[in-house]
């Protein structure tokens, strides 16, 4: 980089011109940028599922309507859990920045527990829906509902597995640069899932129960 800095005329002996980087130059944040691009492609997956729900969300086929089967109090609890897990992951990142490993691990465990609570509640909701005959095969509304909410739930489950793996890695190797990079990737993933959930609870649950 500094090799190709320009010198003003008469400011000293001219350096030899170099038209290429003499040292190997890697973009330092390559991984984070690449992960961001992955998240953006994931965004498109969810956009398609949201579009499918937008088209099919009111096609009940004579079956149960959204107003009948969606329970807002449970969704409110779920939203609270996910929102809290977002801020606890933020605290973990703050602890990571100060190289404080144990507080960071505690925050990660709390985040994991909140995420597990979210998944548990969601699975209970799904089990309840299927038990009352409102499974994904009942109507177009329920098919698109299960696909959209289920895909989000699957992402959260993958995030939880990743979290457990990462906690193990930090316990074994400490807060090395590679682990910090992974923690920041998972941070983006986790907050991204929260962003998607904002869309889910607004578009699916809250707008679904409107008359």
């Amino acid at each position: 980089m500094s090799e190709i800095s320009t010198t003003l005329p008469g400011s000293g002996p001219a350096k030899p011109l170099a038209f290429y980087d003499t040292a190997e130059h890697h973009p330092v944040n390559g991984t984070l940028l690449g992960f961001w691009v992955y998240l953006m492609s994931d965004c498109l997956v969810f956009a398609c599922l949201f579009a499918a729900y937008g088209v099919l969300g009111r096609e009940y086929a004579g079956g149960p309507t959204a107003q009948e089967v969606l329970e807002l109090p449970a969704v409110a609890v779920n939203t609270t859990l996910l929102l809290l897990s977002s801020i606890t992951y933020g605290f973990a990142v703050l602890a990571m920045q100060r190289n404080r490993q144990n507080p960071m691990l505690v925050w990660l465990v709390i985040t994991g527990l909140l995420g597990a609570g979210f998944i548990t509640l969601e699975l209970r909701e799904f089990a309840h829906l299927i038990s009352i005959g409102a499974g994904p095969q009942r109507s177009a509304f329920l098919s698109s509902f299960f696909t959209l909410v289920g895909t989000h739930g699957l992402h959260v489950t993958c995030g939880l597995i990743w979290l457990v793996v990462l906690i193990t890695q930090v316990l074994r190797k400490g807060l090395i640069t590679a682990n910090k990079r992974r923690l920041l990737c998972l941070s983006m993933f986790w907050h991204f899932l929260d962003v998607v959930w904002v869309g889910v609870f607004s578009f699916v649950y809250l707008m679904g129960v409107l008359p």
């Binding site: 980089m1 500094s2 800095s5 350096k15 330092v28 944040n29 984070l32 940028l33 961001w36 691009v37 953006m40 965004c43 498109l44 956009a47 398609c48 949201f50 579009a51 499918a52 937008g54 088209v55 807002l72 109090p73 409110a76 939203t79 929102l83 977002s86 801020i87 933020g90 605290f91 990142v93 703050l94 920045q97 640069t177 910090k180 990079r181 920041l184 983006m188 907050h191 991204f192 929260d194 962003v195 904002v198 869309g199 609870f201 607004s202 578009f203 809250l206 707008m207 129960v209 409107l210 008359p211």
Partner: protein, 130 residues
Amino acid sequence: MSAHDELHAHGGDHGHDEEDFGIHATLGGYATGFVLSVVLTVIPFWLVMGHVITKSSTAAVIILGLAAVQIVVHMIYFLHMNAKSEGGWNMLALVFTIVLVVITLSGSIWIMYHLNSNMMPSMMDPSNLP
């Protein structure tokens, strides 16, 4: 001012980047984001669960508007999004994605809006066929 100084400054910058990956998370940022998102979550739930607005279309517009604001809040305070991160490539990818998402969502819903009326049995009636 010499090449040496410049090199040194760059070297310091480099090491700095490697430590925190250019992300400067602060407690204040997370707290602001959390408070804003709690407010932006509570309002739509209150609107719907308390049956505050009876007109569905008005309520839907408000819910979607608040969701859009909340997504921006999450992007700024939790995902540390700004025009400068990764030399602007983050923002470029995001803008491109938003364009695609808007086309996908609005295009699908617009085209499929008349799905039912287009699939009405009257259209299947042989006497209506040319």
